[in-house]
């Protein structure tokens, strides 16, 4: 009696949920458009691109400005006749920063929606989660991150290796600013460890030793103990590598205890959050950036902001915005370069041949061996509330 009931209910439960799965699978499938083109994602009037990144969750504050910038660039291109008569359609899926869902989203885009390429991946764990799958399927994909080795030949990154930026800023701080006692404040993950490599490389070249390295876990919000340690180590310059709010709070809290070394950082130095949180305290901060700063007041950055604001008047400025802008401009440029006969193979060929491309806000260079877009970096100094360039674009 018991066992029959057990079995029946078990079967019902399992059957029920599985039938739900089948039913939904069929509904989905019948609703999906056919992807049986010669080249998936390319129709007579449209090019379909797909991206997977956080739409919900704590990382959204990074991806939202990025999304807005990309959409603005694509909208502008579409308004100007599109790509040889085709409009760009960009579909975005959420992964809530969970790599398992990044993969699900990528599969959906590729198989159900039939995208041409995967454009728009944010975060290293998400990118690495989908890379093997996309490589196998021979689908070009574009990520915001730099491109670690496993991503070639189909993966294309945007941001430079943080180590290159930390190298440049450390070098500048020691050589040009004459700082002798350098400290390193870092987020304890791949971000911080890659940054460390750059710092070490620069210091070794200049024959200077690192006085103090103080770390914090990802997600830390208070840096009292960290800045106290750096102060006690009596450093006169600190290279800070972490996410924007962390970099900002550390500087702020150091200021409160009257610890004012020279602060240097990578691209986040140009982040709106940093500026907001520090106010005037931001003056004196130097940073190495592979994109034009939002706050540089140059003609290029003004034009970019204007374009974005045209479609998203309420867009909150953030440096990831410019990264998205540059990446999207690159995409438009390379799609145009291929011509009307658009295939994945031809796209890759065009990318390899691209060489130097100056988007409004970022010098980009792709080649057969270089799959990271960032081509050069500029050193900026915050002065009177504005980001002033101290150098020109120095190639990596």
């Amino acid at each position: 009696m018991d066992s029959k009931k057990v079995r029946r209910t078990f079967l019902r439960g399992v059957n029920g949920s599985l039938r739900l799965a089948i039913l939904s699978a069929f509904i989905w499938h019948s609703a999906a458009t056919s992807a049986a083109e010669q080249t998936p994602g390319v129709s007579d009037k449209e090019i379909l691109l797909g991206g997977v990144f956080p739409v919900t969750g704590p990382v959204r504050f990074i991806s939202l400005p990025y999304e807005q910038a990309v959409k603005a660039v694509f909208n502008k291109a579409n308004a100007n006749g599109g790509i040889h008569g085709r409009k760009i359609v960009w579909r975005v899926e959420d992964d809530a920063y969970q790599p398992a869902r990044t993969l699900a989203g990528a599969k959906k885009l590729v198989e159900r929606d039939g995208v041409f390429v995967v454009f728009g991946l944010v975060g290293q764990s998400g990118t690495l989660a989908v890379a093997p799958y996309l490589q196998r399927k021979k689908i070009p994909f574009f990520t915001l991150n730099s491109a670690p080795r496993p991503l070639t030949p189909y993966g294309w990154g945007t941001q430079s290796n943080y180590g290159d930026l930390s190298y440049q800023i450390t070098h500048y701080m020691v050589q040009k600013l004459g700082l002798k006692r350098i400290g390193y404040l870092y987020q304890n993950d791949d971000l911080g460890s890659i940054g460390r490599k750059g710092v070490d490389r620069a210091l070794k070249e200049l024959g200077v030793k690192l006085i103090s390295a103080v770390g914090y876990e990802r997600g830390t919000r208070d840096f009292t103990t960290q800045v106290l340690k750096l102060r006690d180590a009596k450093v006169d310059g600190v290279v800070s590598v972490g996410i924007a709010p962390s970099v900002a709070i550390a500087i702020k809290q150091a200021g409160i205890i009257k610890f004012k070394p020279r602060w240097g950082t990578y691209g986040v130095g140009g982040s709106a959050i940093v500026r907001k949180l520090l106010g005037d305290g931001i003056n004196g901060l130097v940073f190495a950036s592979d994109i034009e700063s939002l706050f540089a007041e140059s003609a290029d950055s003004k034009r970019a902001i204007a374009t974005i604001r045209k479609y998203y008047p309420k867009a909150k400025p953030e440096f990831t915005m410019f990264l998205g802008y540059a990446q999207a401009q690159m995409m438009v440029h390379v799609l145009r370069a291929v011509g009307r006969d658009l295939t994945r193979k031809k796209l890759i060929a065009a990318l390899i041949k691209m060489g130097d491309f100056k988007s409004d806000v970022m010098p980009i260079r792709y080649s057969a061996t270089k799959h990271t877009a960032a081509g050069a970096a500029k050193i900026y100094l915050w002065k009177d509330g504005k980001a002033v360039p101290l150098t020109g674009w120095r190639k990596f």
Binding site: F10, R12, I22, H29, A100, L103, A129, D189, D190
Partner: protein, 335 residues
């Protein structure tokens, strides 16, 4: 053994039929299969949690950590020692069992919420340690598994992975249901309902609690190993506190004490975000609110409608046969 197989036969067939249907519907479509694979993997861990929390009453928020240990052990054995997937997974499952059973230690002397908090802390610390593992665990950058083959058969398509995941899933499901009917299972249930009485009747509470932890840990390890093979790349972002919370939610949705419910809950929680994609930014809020409503208004879990139906049908039969038959109230651990 035969009865085990026969019990597993129909659900197995249903799943196979479903898979064939999907396969027939579109040859290269791995998206649905991938989601279903993920559901089954989560379901395996959820079954373990049902036994541990639902049946034995030990609230555990460490499930994601168990998966982490299973995944990382497998990955480490494959990458650093060059083992094949099968031996690595088996060893990984045992490693997880060993480490997870350690949790039974404090649990033996503690009650409900204390156990919850200790598992919470354990779950977070384990993953933090993994993140600090440098090149051994890939640190915060994660680990990529070498291509997975089982006895020479390469798992290079979602379809093949489906089969490989299906087998443990079916076995675990059938086995766990059977386990609950056998003496150890009944003893666990008795422990939850009336610990004092159970002890008086000679039930060795400590031994059974340890068993529950071991069981759940083993299944967590299996689940973790399969997860690693499914994704091919793992990192600490896969095993956060929120993931543990989601596992807890899975069994809560299923009524806590029901294996079937736990599986259903696992499918729902895993697949729901895919359904909710249309909501974009609001999806997290929608999911949270829906969940909240279900938890408050359906304490017996979403399986209650099914259970109610089954009861209704059998009551009708019974009324036809003999009036006044006694039925189990909903939500009690009868499956």
């Amino acid at each position: 053994m035969r009865s085990l197989l026969s019990r597993a036969k129909i659900p197995l067939l249903t799943i196979l039929a479903m898979a064939v249907a999907i396969l027939a519907a579109s040859e290269t479509n791995s998206y649905y299969l991938y989601v279903i694979n993920l559901c089954m993997i989560n379901a395996i861990a959820a079954v373990g949690l049902v036994i541990l929390t639902g049946v034995a009453g030990q609230i555990s928020l460490a499930t994601a950590a168990l998966l982490a240990i299973g995944s990382y052990s497998t990955a480490i054995l494959m990458v650093h020692l060059g083992l094949g997937f099968l031996p690595a997974a088996v060893l990984g499952a045992f490693a997880t069992t060993a480490i997870g059973t350690i949790l039974a230690g404090p649990a033996l002397r503690l009650t409900g919420l204390h156990v919850a908090i200790v598992t919470l802390a354990f779950g977070i610390i384990v993953v933090q340690l993994i993140g600090k593992g440098g090149t051994f665990t890939g640190g915060m950058s994660g680990m990529t598994l070498p291509p997975v083959t089982i006895l020479g058969w390469a798992l290079d398509s979602e379809w093949r992975r489906f089969i490989v995941i299906l087998i443990p899933f079916a076995l675990v499901t059938a086995g766990s249901i059977r386990f609950l009917r056998l003496k150890p299972g009944r003893a666990l249930r008795a422990l939850r309902e009336r610990e004092l009485a159970a002890r008086t009747l000679g039930v060795n509470a400590s031994a059974y609690k340890i068993l529950a932890f071991a069981y759940a840990s083993f299944l967590g390890g299996v689940s973790g190993a399969l997860y690693a093979s499914l994704k091919g790349y793992i990192s600490v972002d896969d095993f956060t506190l929120w993931n543990s919370i989601y596992f807890f939610v899975m069994i809560a949705l299923g009524g806590m004490t029901s294996i079937v419910g736990g599986i259903a809950g696992a499918f729902v929680v895993t697949a729901a975000p895919e359904f909710l994609r249309g909501f974009q930014e609001a999806s997290q809020a929608v999911f949270g609110v829906l969940l909240f409503l279900i938890v408050v208004f359906f304490p017996g879990g979403i399986v209650t409608p099914f259970a109610g139906l089954s009861r209704l049908l059998s009551t009708r039969k019974k009324r036809a046969a003999a009036p006044g038959a006694n039925e189990n109230p909903p939500g009690s651990p009868s499956r």
